[in-house]
Symmetry: C2
Subunit: 321 residues, 2 copies
């Protein structure tokens, strides 16, 4: 496939799934052709509802996403799934085997599933996620389910700018509940108590309610809803779809939806700007033959990192003027 | 306390613990005074052995660190503990209550414990961790235990540049073992099977050995050791201390230790450089009155983020020459 960006774009717009996948790969690789397609499609984005799904590994997020995809398909919506897995960048994708669960959707042209594991040196995963979501959005996938494998900082940063954020918990997580509360309390728009047929679902819901009553009042979109599900058999999925729709309605009415969209744009702009500035600077330092010397001096404690940055900045300033 | 940086430095060097804590706070805040102290102390750093400790919440890392601190104190070493908790940046420090377990060390002047939760917009936690570790190193704390609460990407990035990395696992984690393997396999120098009196310790060790036999051969410091502990009662701590010392010895002999130190320096330099470049750029954009306009245009899909970065770069180029 050596289509020009223009040809690729035309095929993507025409609904060619292979072309869409190819555009995603190019965007992930950060190739100029991928960028060109993204830029051309950007004005067509914005219609999709982006739903982030996060929670500890083993909470059943993949099954939930699977059922939500089914539910939205039954409503007639087209569904894009973006599975974000930073950990598999180390192992080459072990966890993505999970995706096999989504197999029943693979023959449905109304569902597009993409797993992302590539992680560049500077937050490349967040960039790739937004790019892939934009491509899906521009191609008319109206429901985007952005699922993370865990609740690492990277993953929280990725989902927190979604339009609606689901945090999936399970009963009986014991001491871990403290960690979960601490890390994701503020980003949840809807709490999902999955595996709600297990002992402790009642208690978990009480704990969540107690916690929410203590939390500072949220403006705009109100207190997060709590929904119980048993994703393995599809229980509670309708309730969850209602809660998601309800969150969007409230957020749109209050203006919070728009604020979140602006924050999405800001974080993308800053990430791209940062990548560009750092890449440009390193290129200049390497061209000037100073990069290796700086690193050696820091390691040998002859130069402190703060002074090194001053030196590098001065060099760049000099080479520009 | 409104000491000048010079006075503060003198007090830190004289072994004043309150001054050391103050210098850490200043460094965390990114204040110029903190930077001045850090820069002056940088040539004194490098002697400490930096041991990173990571693993899922609930694996017993805090207890292990507690016992290691005790063990090193018995050997006559001074011990610094840096507890890194990105999640508590949301909740204001819920998990740091954990630190109460370390209470028995609080009256020991040979132990210094610092919890870090502050997280700036651009990887501030990594910067703060390195700064605090440097301050401890320069003040003669010979064993630095850098503990993360979870295994998020941020936390992995922080510990992976330590001289020796411990990955703490517990038997019976079920499906989660896949996630753990995938995320942290490559960064472990020593695997700790904690709570080894539980059922499944044998099986976990076999799984680890099988996994290690499949992993690509590691140069320099050899295959990671596996040590069993029961941290709640201090079992296996001596073995763990031996494994840690042995890793350092092998890494030093092979040159891998030095390589890791260079990587430490590189990641710090790049992080600081990135912060500086982005801060400078945003300042310029805000001064030019264009930042808010760019964000609004992106949110309204009138401008794509890639084009926005080009515009910003052009503006900066123009304003410099």
């Amino acid at each position: 496939m050596s289509a020009t960006p223009g040809e690729l774009l035309a095929r993507v717009v025409a609904g060619d799934r292979r072309a869409l996948g190819r555009a995603m790969s190019l965007a992930e690789e950060g190739s100029p052709a991928g960028r060109e397609v993204l830029r051309a499609l950007y004005p067509r984005t914005g219609a999709a509802h982006r739903v982030g799904v996060t929670g500890f590994p083993g909470a059943g997020k993949s099954s939930l996403v699977d059922w939500l995809a089914t539910g939205y398909r039954e409503e007639g919506s087209r569904v894009g799934v973006v599975a974000v897995d930073p950990s598999s960048a180390f192992s080459g994708g072990a966890i993505l085997g999970d995706r096999i669960r989504m197999m029943r959707h693979t023959t449905d042209p109304g569902v597009f599933i993409r797993s992302l594991a590539t992680r560049g040196q500077f937050g490349g995963l967040s960039k790739a996620t937004h790019d892939v979501a934009d491509l899906l959005d521009a191609c008319g996938y109206e429901r985007l389910l952005i699922e993370t494998v865990g609740v690492g900082q990277d993953e929280i940063d990725i989902v927190r700018t979604a339009d609606t954020v689901l945090v999936v918990l399970v009963p009986g997580m014991g001491d871990d509940i403290q960690a979960i509360k601490a890390g994701v309390l503020e980003i949840a728009d809807v709490f999902v108590i999955n595996k709600a047929d297990r002992e402790g679902a009642e208690r978990l819901e009480r704990e969540l309610l107690a916690m929410l009553s203590l939390a500072p009042a949220r403006g705009g979109d109100g207190t997060p809803a709590i929904v119980r599900t048993v994703a393995t058999r599809g229980d509670g999925i309708q309730d969850l779809m209602v809660a998601i729709a309800e969150h969007r309605r409230r957020a749109q009415a209050s203006g919070q939806f728009r604020e979140r969209r602006t924050a999405q744009g800001e974080s993308r702009f800053l990430a791209l700007l940062r990548d560009r500035l750092v890449a440009e600077t390193l290129q200049r330092l390497e061209a000037a033959g100073t990069f290796a010397g700086i690193l050696a001096a820091i390691a040998e404690r002859r130069l402190d990192p703060y002074a090194a940055v001053e030196q590098a900045a001065a060099l760049l300033q000099g080479s520009r003027s």
